[in-house]
Point group: C2
Amino acid sequence: MSAPSCEFCGSPGGPVLWQNDLCRVVRVDEPDYPGFLRVILKRHAREMTDLDESERAGLMAVVWAVESAVREVMEPDKMNVASLGNMTPHVHWHVIPRFGDDRHFPSPIWATPRRERAPSPEREARAQRLAGALLDRLGR
Amino acid sequence: MSAPSCEFCGSPGGPVLWQNDLCRVVRVDEPDYPGFLRVILKRHAREMTDLDESERAGLMAVVWAVESAVREVMEPDKMNVASLGNMTPHVHWHVIPRFGDDRHFPSPIWATPRRERAPSPEREARAQRLAGALLDRLGR
C-alpha cells in the first residue's frame, strides 16, 4: 500500500544499494557525510510500532547489518541511528557514521554546525565500497 | 562491566520509571518535551552492533514497549527514536513524542528551535502517567 504524496512511496529516496521485499537501503546525498545510508520500509507505515513483530524484526536486522557494514568500511568514531520522520512520516532509518572532525561532532547532524570541513576524498572512496559490503552481509 | 568516567555507568541518568537486568527507562528532564524517555543499557557498550543478537532483541523489545506506552499516553503527532551517543558513548535510546506545535517540529529536537512555547500542563500531567503505562506493558 502506498500513500498519495508521500515522498518515499513516490520515489526510491536515493540510489538503491540493496533491497529485499521489505525495505531498501539508499545512499544519502549529503556531501558532509559520506557513508550516510538510509533504510526505507517499502510499504507505507508511520511508526515502528505500527509494524507487526516480524516486520519490525526483519527491518531491524537490515538496520544492524547496515550499521555493521558502515562500521567495517568507514571506521567511524561513533555510529548514529535514528527513526524520526517528522517531514516524511514513512518509516525509515538514518544510519550515519560520525567522526570527531565532522561538521557537527559531537552534536547530532541536525544541530548547528560546529566547524567547516573540506571534503574527504578518502572517506568518499570508502563510501563507494558500501554497496559491496552490504551484498557480502545481506546477500542478493 | 562499567567504564570509568562514563556518565551512564556512574549514575542512573534520570528518575528510573522501570528496569530489568538489561536496561532501565528514565524520564528525561527536558521541560519542552514532557514524555521524553530514555532507555539505557545497564552494562557499558558503545554501539548496538557491539551487543549480541539476544541482548539487542531484548533491548529493542523494551524500546518498542516504551514507544507504545508513550503513544498511548501522550498521543503525539509523531514518534522520534534515536541512538546517538556522541557525548556519552554508552548505548541508550531517546524516545520522544513530537507534536506539530512543539519547539522544533518538524525539525529534530537537536536543531535550532522554530518557535517559543509555553509549558503545557496537560502534556505534563499525561507524562506523569507513563510509569504506570510502562508497568502495564512490561510488568515488574
